[in-house]
Symmetry: C2
């Protein structure tokens, strides 16, 4: 694959576009419904910018739809009016969306899902980002595999059913751990303790499971069945942070199912 | 402080003892109720070993009780029979225990709590570990502060009430995030997906909040109020991982309180 078109100019499109370009895959065109965003990313990638889907050109080896989940199908339907639906190879980059949403519109379709949470402040290390690929036709899947290996060392074929589960799991290790960090910040800040005290601990917790299974790394009152400490914590939460009472209880019971408050 | 005695030979005692020794504070004696453990750590620290509390010698500048929470008071009571309760300076290292448990036994008492989760497999970077100190007498607190600065750049005076909250918060960012990692591992492994796919994402999540507030880093279906995705996830969990249904719901509602399943 030599030439890709990026539909979308958000965080994922931004980082993926840069990485593709660095690795010798030209991005020829960038679409965003916001003209300025398309232009900004296109400039970085030395590509053409457009905010009209009907201006998307034929002839790219891959069309990458990197827009919000709810817009994927709308964009696909529009795109199919412009580029040849029997020739164009179209993928989306979503963990939460079936590849099948593209099926009504394109003969060659698939998924190219980099499993990472991207932010504009930080350049991702793509070599370590798992790229989850799938495609309806085997030849297309092979193409995606070659492309994925150009940008990452970790490439996995993940079907729709697997990707759906992976997305739930990603919510657990990303969104839910982050809301626990946030809850912890609120807890300590309510007693004038800076959140900074907890940063080394939470980082260590994530580092420990890089080489081990989480199950083997578990510590704390719940796994020790230390009901006294658990009850102390629950009674404190009930009084001062009632919004966290049930969260504490549920997570404790995952580790200590027999615990009764 | 030139000379410390370690009561306990577990993970915390091990790493703290090594760090103190490295930084020029001699550990003269190590106690563990298991003779072999006392001997192993004592050997590393060039200290004497004992498994009898009545053999603890007078004359150390600090007695550090680093045993399990439930044993602290028992150990303190025993220790007070051996060393001079009006002269000896005794601290414990527990996040979950009041400093006051030492009060009935010693005139000079306090807390020296390194806020990190230690493991034998990995050498901790003490310079970044927050040391939470407190002591009943101001002069004692000053001594602990000087000692803490010898082993870490992050020293905080944290009173009993604050430390209790800090410990709850530590459970959130350590034990509870780890059980989310474990749940995610079970989710993906049930579909033959290796947990390794999630490791970069969970590490990135912890790295992001090193320089930012968690609140500002939140992403995902709950913060977007994407009820469709949330309902899809919940119905999948209800069917295939019912033990995670309520956890998902509770954590979602922390971010999206109006969500109704």
């Amino acid at each position: 694959m030599q030439k890709a078109t990026l539909i979308g100019a958000g965080k994922l499109a931004h980082h993926l576009g840069l990485r593709l370009t660095q690795q010798g895959v030209a991005v020829n065109q960038v679409y965003s419904r916001t003209k300025k965003k398309a232009q900004q990313l296109a400039k970085l990638l030395k590509a053409k910018a457009t905010n009209h889907l009907e201006e998307i050109e034929s002839g790219a080896d891959l069309y990458i739809i990197a827009v919000s989940d709810s817009a994927i199908e709308i964009v696909a339907a529009e795109l199919a009016k412009t580029i040849d639906p029997s020739k164009a190879f179209v993928v989306h980059t979503s963990g939460a969306t079936l590849s099948l949403v593209l099926k009504p519109y394109f003969k060659h379709y698939g998924v190219f899902y980099p499993l990472q949470s991207f932010s504009m402040e930080k350049e991702p290390d793509f070599t370590n980002i798992p790229i989850c690929i799938d495609a309806h036709h085997k030849a297309d899947k092979n193409k995606l595999e070659v492309l994925a290996h150009r940008i990452s060392n970790k490439v996995f074929t993940i079907n729709d059913e697997q990707r759906a589960v992976l997305h739930v799991a990603a919510v657990f290790v990303n969104n839910f751990t982050n809301v626990l960090y946030q809850s912890a910040a609120e807890l300590v800040e309510s007693k004038n303790i800076p959140f900074d005290l907890l940063r080394p601990l939470l980082l260590e917790t994530a580092l420990k499971v890089q080489a081990h299974q989480p199950k083997d790394m578990q510590t704390g009152p719940a796994i020790r069945k230390d009901s006294n400490t658990i009850k102390k914590h629950l009674s404190f939460l009930k009084k001062e942070h009632p919004e966290l009472f049930l969260v504490y209880l549920q997570l404790t019971q995952l580790l200590y199912p027999d615990f009764k408050p």
